[in-house]
Amino acid sequence: MKKVLALVLAALLVLTVGSALAEAKAGDGLYIGVVYKQSGNPYFQASINGFQQAADELGFTFDHDGPDDGSNDGQIRIIENFINQGVDALIISANDPAGLVNVCKEAMDQGIVVVSYDAPVAPEGRTADVEPASFQQVGDILLESIAKSIGYEGQIAILSASATMGNQQYWCAAIEKSLQENEAYANLEYVGTVFGDDVYDKSFTECEALINQYPDLKGIIVPTTNGAPAVAKCIQDHGMSTKVTGLTLASDMKEYLDAGICDETFLWNPIDLAYVASYAAVALINGDITGEVGDTFTAGDKGEITVAQGDDGGNTIFLGALNTFNTETVGEWVDIL
């Protein structure tokens, strides 16, 4: 009997701690579940501001969560929870485009709108996808930037995250395509791609190996946010004149932009992405659009946006251009990204 009592008391203790943490949600209005790649990632912390802004304007409530290990099965658990809570829409940044298809299909069967943003869920598992720019656009912007920095001549390389990460492999493919097809880059010699796993230390080591192998390397494109500061630091430490560009956080790169190692770096605005994804989700829930290619909706202060054919063949909503960070603009973004 004592055992049972002790157990009851202990369980109640745990649960009262829990209820203190539970938040109240508005009873009416739409309720949206946001699933990002990994908890604690500053990039996704920033995107929460975009969801909040849209929520204030449109009057929906939302909860957000991501697995601590950035795993696909963690995202499945979170999505199952959101489905059970009866969300009207899921807004997901997927760790693995194919891995969420089953669970997202189940959600759609229950009438839940599935919008992916930043990193798409495969077309059969989503209603629509929101992306900053097409892979080709991103690749072209990065390539043009590095080419301009080094005078359209010399050896260049790419330091990517991993060969399998959806966006990474397509950006690299886009860069390679433009290098072959565009006459303007005829004098650029592409020496290859190395992978830093989006980890600072690994990227630093890979960069050292790269510049040891190609001492005349003129430019490195780094489309990974944790890789870019590592590469810039590596170039700085070795006192080389190699130029670096890539997709980076402003706060990471300010000192290297100021030091002239980078002329400009880029990133989309996660706040805008989240904002537009929210407007798209609400338009889809309300039936204003169905998510077909050619559908047009108004995304708050971002104006009218048309659903286009995406890089993966599914329906995608492109935001347009990238944010450019240079010595003039980086200051405004340092505290945000």
């Binding site: 055992k3 002790a6 009851v8 309720y31 991501g66 290990d69 795993s71 099965d73 992978f195």
Partner: protein
Amino acid sequence: MKKNKVASFFLRWEFLLVALLVLMCVVFNLQDAARVASGAARKDVFNLPNVMRGLRPYMLYSFMTMGVMLILAMGDIDISTGAIATLSVVVLGALYNLMGGGPVALVISIIACLATGSLCGAINGFLVTRFKELFPMIITLATQLFFRGFGYLLIGGSTLTFDSTFGVLSKTYELVDIFGLKVPIMVLIFLAVAVVFYVWLHLTSGGRKIFAIGTNATTARYSGLRVDAIKMFCFTLTGFMCAVTGIFFVGANSSSIKADLMDGYHMYAIAAAVLGGFSTDGGKGSVIGAVLSLFIFGIVKIGLGTLFGFADSAVNLAVGVILILSVLIPNISEDLSKYMRVRKQRAETAAAKAAH
């Protein structure tokens, strides 16, 4: 006398687990009703269909738990189970694509997957029985790293994707209608497997041999048990069950395979077995307890996640709390009953003295 005591202890332990399960459901239902009443939620969340759907991600490691529990009963431990499951599905996927796909390739690669798991388990078993001076913990730590590394060696950092035939595996994640309630196929299969394990472990002499080894391996050997052969068999069977877990995992993961899956699953499996009454000292435990524990962990995680706003990475704290309590409570209650006994004796002695 001794045997009766052991039996009654487990009866009571399983009763406690059922009580905990019921208590959790009551608390979650109250919270659910409170949320609806206060307008914090539009509808109730903690109902049977939702729990059934939501259980699936937490039942994936149930199959490997059946193996881990054998190993704990023998007084050994295996922390390479998640790695074995991962390597098995890597072999499954790589072989399937190598053979160009199709139903025949699927059957062959599933057999290869199960064989890989069994082989990995056999390697563990061989090392544990051959190098008795090494702790099984260290041996399986080493093989865990080896198996994970080997998976990367086979497919690198790539994500394997497959044709539509392979998508049949997704069926393992689906729900099936039973008298109007949608129940996960996975849970039904698991319960059938658990019945087999229950009969074997608790109702046959083969199962009792395993507990005998865990109670005292030396005595067991002198009693004529082929201890090494039995250990070898149990480790191999565990490897096989890991491969089974892997196949269900692939179904859940929409047929997407990488070399870094199922991280931490070995810990969930050990946690469920330990709460089920299996201890690392060996010699005790109950299949029913382990099955109940799997449901307890699943339901507490669902409840904390959906009703109490816990983040996915925070719900594991419940596993920790329940596990510590499961170890502490029997100890405390034993201390308490000893104390009561001593006090009663003292009182009797004092009363006897006073009577004189």
